[in-house]
């Protein structure tokens, strides 16, 4: 499922990131934030009325905000990374 569809406060991990959907700088920034395949992620807040605002999510001990377009490029799986096969 995409990060945009992940229910709030549901622990998940990053399954795949479509780097081609992101600009080079945005991709680099995401990696620097620690958002890479395998990272734990939890959606915390959806900003803006009518659900068109950005998404705030927790990566490790950091909270970062990104637009929905970026979140849509990130596929996640529900569950704890350490428990997966």
């Amino acid at each position: 499922m995409r990060l945009t569809d992940l229910p709030l406060r549901q622990p998940a991990y990053v399954d795949m990131i479509d780097w081609n959907a992101l600009s080079a700088t945005d991709g680099q920034r995401l990696r620097e934030f620690g958002l890479i395949e395998g990272a734990d992620v939890e959606a915390l807040h959806h900003g803006g009325l009518l659900g068109r605002g950005p998404i705030a999510c927790k990566i490790g001990r950091m909270t970062i905000a990104m637009r929905r377009a970026h979140a849509a490029a990130i596929s996640v799986r529900i569950g704890d990374r350490d428990e997966r096969a």
Partner: protein
């Protein structure tokens, strides 16, 4: 510049670097610019235990040595010794946030691979333990191969220890570079391993911040909270400033009374009373209001709320084609457009950035506050409209909102025409909430007050004096039917300009005030004060009256409203034009900006005047 050893503070954004810099250097700071780029250079003096001075420079925060913005470029170039105007630092203080080790250690490893003598400041250890994270600095130090000092910059903890470590680093010793373990992912994995080793105890994180964010970032409550905060801010600008303003006014009154008594009637007395005391005094009187505004903005930044506000506003920003990041420079522009425009450097996309620069002057800067304040004070009754809300504060709030709405509309049009391009992005870290150290806030306010008073003493003083000269000469002949103002050079210029401005309800005095207001907007107030002060020369009783009362006698209400509307869009001051030229590398965009602002100001003032007149006000 000096032979003192140079030590650079470097680290991720939100590592508490600036607070550490303030704590280490105190008020002995020097702000400047790196040559060729418009990145601010923040340097200060640090004394070692043996009294040796060290120059400490605070580098812009960055996530890696792979820059994505001009600020980050400077950081990289300085630590590599490639930045012109800066020596290679003799030592580095790498600041990392104790509660964000994984991420900050990755950058720390990159920095360690440079081989400069380094000490790591493990900052904000108090917030980490509040979050249930206990770390072992000794393990971290062993793994990194450099000293690690736990610090709490805002509480001044660990500073002596850090100073001692810096001293040790500066004693010549062979520096050892720690080789990087390979590509980005390998460095990341290594950072993660070290972080894991250093953790003694860990519980799920950030309860306090998470709890506050549930309300602060809520699409409905959060927005109400933001609007409420802004509203309180503008009410406070009026409510808290009454007493100090009365004090300054009293002082100016005593001063001009003393000068009037001491000197014979003549040119010198007129110069001192009408030009200097009335002119400069009428601007200095707004210092309390400007400081209140800055106090709120500094608090919003230091507590970590500013990024939340950007998050809430991003939906709206996206709709007009801007980056959510633009919200921070725009909010700073409420204080002054110059730092606001400089702050746009954090916006990576060039079209995005240009649009933000072009609309920044529409945010009501603090220099416009004196203009608004004097007109509102004179023409809007100090009535309570219910619920303890004052009408004056409400009108002020509306003027700010008008600027914001105007800016959004202009951005929308610009993004569809001259700055057409891909839509912006918004990728930001949200720092933990934290209570700022009062000293840091006071230091910020002090720096602002000095800047404002310097302006009052230089630009505003000079413009006021020149205007006084132009208003006082040539002298109108005795018993002339033409008043002194109309007879003077300035009056004649203004009468010419008035042909263009009369249709929108402006009188000659306003035309007169608008010319020097190009130097700095608040000069409009001192200019009006000088004009009415000179006009009242013959009449002692009139002289005693405040500027507000004199305006009320001379202006119909529609004119006052049109004047307010003009200043919502007012073509900006010379400093803004200069910084825009510097940031956009040429005259094209500043000229475009001045042109469109003039057109908007004219249209807005005209519409206001015609509507108000038609409504019979």
């Amino acid at each position: 510049m000096s032979a003192f050893p140079l030590v650079a503070l470097v680290g991720n954004p939100n590592a508490g670097k600036s607070a550490l810099f303030n704590a280490l250097t105190g008020a002995r700071q020097k702000l400047g610019n790196y040559p060729g780029v418009t990145v601010e250079r923040k340097a200060g003096r640090l004394s070692l235990s043996d009294g040796r001075p060290v120059e400490l420079v605070d580098l812009p925060g960055t996530y890696s040595l792979d820059p994505t913005s001009p600020d980050e470029q400077v950081t990289r170039d300085v630590v590599l010794g490639k930045q012109s105007g800066e020596r290679l630092p003799d030592a580095l203080v790498v600041v990392i946030d104790a509660s964000n080790l994984d991420n900050h250690l990755r950058f720390a490893l990159e920095l360690l691979s440079l081989g400069l003598p380094t000490v790591v400041a493990l900052n904000m250890v108090d917030l980490a333990s509040r979050d249930g994270l206990e770390l072992d600095p000794a393990v971290l130090s062993r793994e990194l191969g450099v000293p690690v000092v736990p610090t709490v910059a805002v509480r001044k903890r660990g500073l002596d220890d850090l100073r001692g470590q810096i001293e040790t680093l500066l004693n010549p010793a062979p520096a050892r570079a720690k080789a990087l373990p390979g590509d980005f992912n390998a460095v990341r994995a290594e950072a993660k391993r070290i972080a894991k080793a250093a953790v003694v105890r860990e519980t799920p994180s950030r309860r306090l911040t998470a709890a506050v964010d549930r309300i602060a970032l809520h699409p409905v409550f959060g927005l109400f909270m933001l609007l409420g905060l802004l509203f309180i801010m503008f009410q406070a600008v009026y409510a808290w400033s009454e007493a100090p303003i009365a004090m300054i006014e009293g002082l100016a009154g005593t001063l001009s009374g003393a000068v009037t008594d001491a000197l014979p009637d003549g040119l010198l007395r007129s110069f001192l009373v009408d030009g200097v005391i009335n002119g400069v005094g009428s601007v200095v009187v707004f210092l309390p209001q400007i400081l209140i505004l800055f106090f709120f903005i500094l608090m919003l930044e230091a507590t970590g709320y500013m990024v939340r506000a950007a998050f809430l506003m991003d939906g709206l920003m996206a709709r007009v084609g801007l980056s959510g990041r633009a919200f921070i420079p725009l909010l700073s522009s409420f204080a002054c457009a110059v730092p606001g425009i400089m702050a746009t450097r954090t916006i990576a996309d060039s079209k995005d950035r240009l649009t933000t620069i072009l609309i920044a002057p529409l945010m009501t800067c603090s220099a416009r506050l004196p203009v608004y304040a004097v007109i509102i004070g004179a023409f809007i009754p100090a009535r309570d409209v219910g619920l303890g809300v004052g009408l004056q504060g409400l009108v002020l709030f509306c003027l700010y909102v008008a600027g914001i709405v105007g800016a959004m509309l202009v951005a929308l049009v610009l993004r569809m025409t001259v700055t057409k391009g891909a839509s912006g992005s918004f990728l930001m870290e949200m720092p933990k909430y934290q209570w700022p150290r009062p000293r840091d806030v006071l230091l910020g306010l002090w720096q602002r007050a000095v800047i404002f008073l310097k302006r009052a003493g230089t630009i505003i003083f000079a413009s006021t004096v020149i205007l006084w000269l132009m208003l006082s000469f040539p002298k109108a002949p005795e018993n002339s039917a033409v008043s002194q103002v109309n007879y003077s050079v300035a009056g004649r210029i203004a009468n010419g300009l008035n042909v263009v401005l009369e249709p929108i309800g402006f009188n000659r005095d306003i035309s007169l005030a608008l010319i020097p207001a190009m130097a700095a907007r608040e000069v409009a107030v001192s200019a009006l004060a000088t004009v009415y002060s000179l006009d009242a020369d013959e009449d002692e009783a009139k002289l005693e009256r405040s500027l507000g009362d004199r305006l009320k006698d001379n202006w119909p209400l529609p004119t006052a409203l049109a004047f307010l509307a003009w200043f919502v869009f007012a073509p900006q001051c010379i400093s803004t034009i200069a910084v825009t030229k510097r940031e956009t590398n040429g005259w094209r965009w500043p000229l475009f900006m001045v042109g469109y602002l003039f057109a908007l100001a004219y249209a807005a003032a005209g519409l206001t005047y015609w509507t108000a007149t038609a409504a019979g006000l």
